[in-house]
């Protein structure tokens, strides 16, 4: 009997993912029908380059949200790291040294977040909101609101423009695959992923089981910080300057992608693969609407509606099951 119950639980997530994959396929077919150039190599390259920061931050964000917290500071951190990177390079540091230094900034912000949440006992939403405002403000201050450009930044632009296989596959795709591989490994083969789910499920129980919640959260927030920092550098390589306006609104795109992908905002449930599906669907939605010539503002409305539907499916369906079919839901 037990294995029947366990397959039923597995099936819920599998069904969730299958629904997302079918939605993805439908969207691709729909948009290609609307504009055949949607399915072109050039659009694919564009899409991959656009998606990279969201996937990077989404991977780390999945762990953070799984553990019951949230990290709203990623957008501000992107801006801070973008501007800092440009300033480091302008002050003479080598490009790759600057990347490392920027990752260090990400680590520091992650440590600060953890300290504020666990040391000062603030709720993660407030703590990371505060860090977000501070990082964003700092990024404007250190560059006096002027985007920073410098010819020595050229090597980093190559990361954006490098392509393989006769200009069909961008380097971005490989970066995404590597990061995904690392994070899926972390999720499935190391305690990191499992402990995130346990902490999110019931923080006190996890603590009593011997999980060092503070240390795990430190790992999650630091990962989130580093990913945000790297995303900031990526954006610099795309737009060619360290602009403090980078990353505005990113945190919501990342969180929306996670939610759409089945990550439970209250914690305790969610996978990297699901997050990937969610992020890709949202990106394709935006990209496809662009291709159709849909007004950018209607796109924002559409994103909001999609988010509502996603939350509805994740939450309301199980809740309504408990209200109207208690026997089935008790399984």
């Amino acid at each position: 009997m037990k294995w029947i119950k366990s397959t039923r639980r597995l099936n819920r997530r599998m069904v969730n993912n299958l629904v997302l994959i079918s939605l993805l396929t439908l969207l691709i077919i729909f948009f290609t029908a609307m504009n055949p150039r949607f399915f072109s190599n050039r659009n694919f390259i564009n899409l991959v380059r656009q998606i990279l920061p969201v996937v990077l931050m989404g991977c780390a964000m999945t762990f953070v949200i799984n553990s019951g917290a949230i990290d709203l500071s990623v957008g501000g951190l992107m801006a801070l790291s973008a501007v800092s990177f440009a300033i480091f390079v302008r002050s003479g540091a080598g490009v790759w040294v600057a990347v490392l230094m920027v990752c260090l900034i990400g680590v520091i912000v992650g440590v600060v977040n953890t300290f504020v949440v666990h040391g000062l006992k603030l709720p993660p939403i407030m703590a990371t909101m505060a860090t977000w405002i501070m990082c964003s403000g700092l990024s404007y201050i250190i560059c006096s609101s002027i985007p920073v450009k410098d010819p020595r930044m050229k090597p980093i632009f190559a990361i954006n423009s490098t392509m393989f296989f006769d200009k069909t596959i961008p380097l971005a795709l490989f970066i995404i695959l590597v990061i995904l591989a690392v994070f899926i490994f972390l999720e499935k083969k190391t305690p990191v992923g499992k402990y995130a789910i346990s902490i999110g499920g019931n923080e006190n129980a996890a603590l009593l089981c011997g999980i060092n919640v503070t240390r795990m959260r430190l790992i999650f927030f630091t990962l989130s910080g580093v990913m945000a920092a790297l995303s900031g550098v990526w954006q610099v390589s795309r737009i060619g300057a360290g602009d403090p306006n980078i990353g505005i609104g990113m945190e919501f795109a990342v969180i929306a992608g996670c939610i759409l992908g089945g990550v439970n905002i209250k914690g305790g449930d969610g996978t990297i693969f699901g997050m990937l599906l969610g992020v890709v669907i949202l990106a394709i939605l935006t990209n496809g609407m662009n291709m159709m010539g849909v007004n950018a503002f209607y796109q924002q409305v559409a994103t909001g509606i999609v988010l509502l539907i996603a939350v509805f499916i994740t939450f309301a369906v199980p809740y309504l099951r408990t209200r109207f079919r208690p026997a089935a839901a008790r399984s």
């Binding site: 501070m134 964003s136 403000g137 939610i259 905002i265 503002f297 924002q300 409305v301 509606i305 988010l307």
Partner: protein, 329 residues
Amino acid sequence: MGLTTNKTAVSRNAIFKLGADAFQNLAILGIFLVMCVIVAIIEPKFLSVQNFSNIFMQISSVVMVSSAVTMVLISGNLDLSVGGVGAMAGVLYAMLARAGFPVLPSALLAIAAGGLVGLLNGTIISTLRLPSFIITMATMYIARGIAFIGAEGAVITAGLPGDFGNMGQHFLGPIPLPLVYTFIIFAAFIFIQNKTLIAQKAYAIGANIKAAELSGISIFKVVTTIFTLSGLMAAFAGVVLTARFGQADCKIMPGFEVDCVIAAVLGGTDINGGRGTVFGMLIGALIVGVLSNVLNMLGLVLHYQYVIKGIVLITAIVFNSALRKAFKA
């Protein structure tokens, strides 16, 4: 044993004879006054009527909306859509006025639209028990999107009737109208918080939603009403701002929702719900207003304010938690 009295509230602070909330409000007020004294020493120009008037005008929108947002926070929810709703209402107001409707009905319709968004928020959150953070984030996107679409991404300046700006630019005697509105709304919410049953229910829901539900409180009615009020206030603030500027900018009130939450939290509202006061929110908004004002006078660029705001937010929450613990101990 007989009845056990509430020792913490009565005997511990017999000198004050105050409840926990009043004690906290007094403490925050004290800190605010100390801050004002320090600022006056650093920058004597702070102590002018014109300056105070400026500060009050600056914080008027936040106080208007945050009165309602404080109630939302007390009930354990979050309303992130207020900025978007304000922008949407401003744009709607301009569009209706431009289309030839008289100014007052246009304003009322725009405000009603905001109330509708609030109603939507409240209904979804209370019936489906979805996390308010995500739902209001989504409605924020949608409302902002509508504002962008209506104003075509820019500003509506042409074709507006002459009395478009009356709501925001005229005076009642020596006092600008926006301040009058703010005062009325603030007083109304103080009344609501202290004297109405719905506010008591909101506190109960914020403290323990399951217990509140089992006690017979209709979560649906309370939460929906509170969110509708929040939407109405946000729309009203958006309309007043639009009238003040004489044009509808679809980008107004960026980050407004964060400002409202900061004001409420600074004033002692617990982010998890269950406690907080509207009066405390006013002090919180004043603290932020005075800080911004003094930073401006010192010539520090706008973005320093963000950093300061973040630090103040953290400090305020830590301080409030410490106050609560000291009160109980």
